[in-house]
């Protein structure tokens, strides 16, 4: 009984080791994998649009990662691979779309909003400063004020 348990434990131990070995990538693959991950982090998964291609479990993402691996193996440069994706899925596939007339608003929009906000703030502060400035009294008002102050004296 004891021996059997021991054997089973040994078996389980080795089973784990065997599986681990199967999953271990080779050195060359590691290089390819690293580049693949770097590239696919730049790309959007179009199936689940808020995920990157590297993080997505969608089937299309797996296919595209396979395609990227293949292109890396074929000696394609990163730019060629990005161009391949953009040709098929458009600029939307890139998390950092290129600067061009159709994306100017996208890139410049936040700065436009910032400029608008700063402008509104300056306007608001100026108006408040003007409204809070010490009121200038006319001669008549000064006399009335003085009279009121004199009244309250004991």
């Amino acid at each position: 009984m004891k021996l059997r348990t021991l054997l089973l434990c040994c078996g389980l131990l080795f089973a784990g080791a065997a599986m681990a070995k199967e999953a271990a990538p080779m050195a060359a693959d590691l290089e390819v994998e690293k580049r693949m991950v770097a590239i696919s982090e730049e790309l959007r998964c179009l199936v689940c649009q808020n995920e990157s291609l590297s993080g997505s479990h969608a089937e299309l993402a797996q296919d595209l990662r396979r395609e990227i691996r293949k292109m890396i193996a074929d000696g394609k440069t990163d730019k060629e691979i990005l161009d391949f994706m953009v040709e098929r899925y458009g600029d939307f596939v890139r998390y950092r779309p290129p600067m061009k007339p159709t994306t100017w608003l996208l890139w410049g929009g936040p700065f436009l909003l910032l400029a608008g906000g700063v402008g509104a703030l300056i306007l608001f502060l100026r108006r408040r400063a003007r409204d809070n400035a010490a009121p200038v009294l006319s001669e008549e008002e000064r006399r009335r004020a003085a009279a009121l102050l004199d009244q309250t004296k004991p």
Binding site: L46, V47, E59, D63, V86, E87, R88, G90, D91, F92
Partner: protein
């Protein structure tokens, strides 16, 4: 009174922006393939594996290229529309059976009707990648010169058929 007008105006503009944003379809990503030649490929046909199909075979006529799969739920939704469209016989519809099992695909067509002139088999989805497919079903309108004139992502609705596809097909067929 005036001091409330400006925030109210800003609020209304914001609401309009959000309302428009909500009605937009996030899947409706402009395809870079529009007005580009349909990518070439040669794939076996679903009904007869010994015969092949390539887009060049359709040169000289306007045709629809519909990406479908038996596992795709939305395909079932648009299918009756395609079947009735194909019955009119105005333009041929070619299918791309995307990442599917041959048996499943054939059963599916037998069950729901076959609107396709033929279906090309894209078992590993490689041709789908060339066509920028990411949400089956997708439909392409391809003109006589073999140029993609429209890419419709997602199921065709009676509305998109009437307003987009049919007028374009009529114009291209002239």
């Amino acid at each position: 009174m005036k001091r409330f007008l400006i925030p109210l105006g800003v609020f209304i503009v914001l609401v309009i922006f959000l309302a428009v944003g909500l009605t937009l379809n996030p899947r409706d990503v402009p395809s870079p393939l529009k007005d580009k030649p349909a990518p070439a490929f040669t794939l076996p046909q679903l009904a007869a594996a010994d015969k092949s199909f390539s887009p060049a075979d359709m040169k000289g006529q306007v045709w629809l290229f519909n990406v479908w799969a038996s596992w795709c739920v939305s395909c079932r939704q648009e299918h009756p529309l395609l079947v009735s469209f194909a019955k009119d016989g105005k333009v041929p519809v070619v299918g791309l059976n995307y990442k599917d099992q041959g048996v499943d695909a054939k059963n599916w067509l037998a069950k729901f009707g076959d609107p396709y002139l033929l279906s090309a088999v894209d078992a590993d989805g490689r041709v789908g990648i060339d066509y920028g497919v990411y949400g089956v079903p997708e439909t392409y309108v391809i003109d006589k010169a073999g140029v993609i004139r429209l890419k419709h992502t997602g199921p065709i609705t009676p509305e998109s058929l009437q307003k987009q596809i049919l007028p374009l097909v009529a114009e291209l067929s002239k």
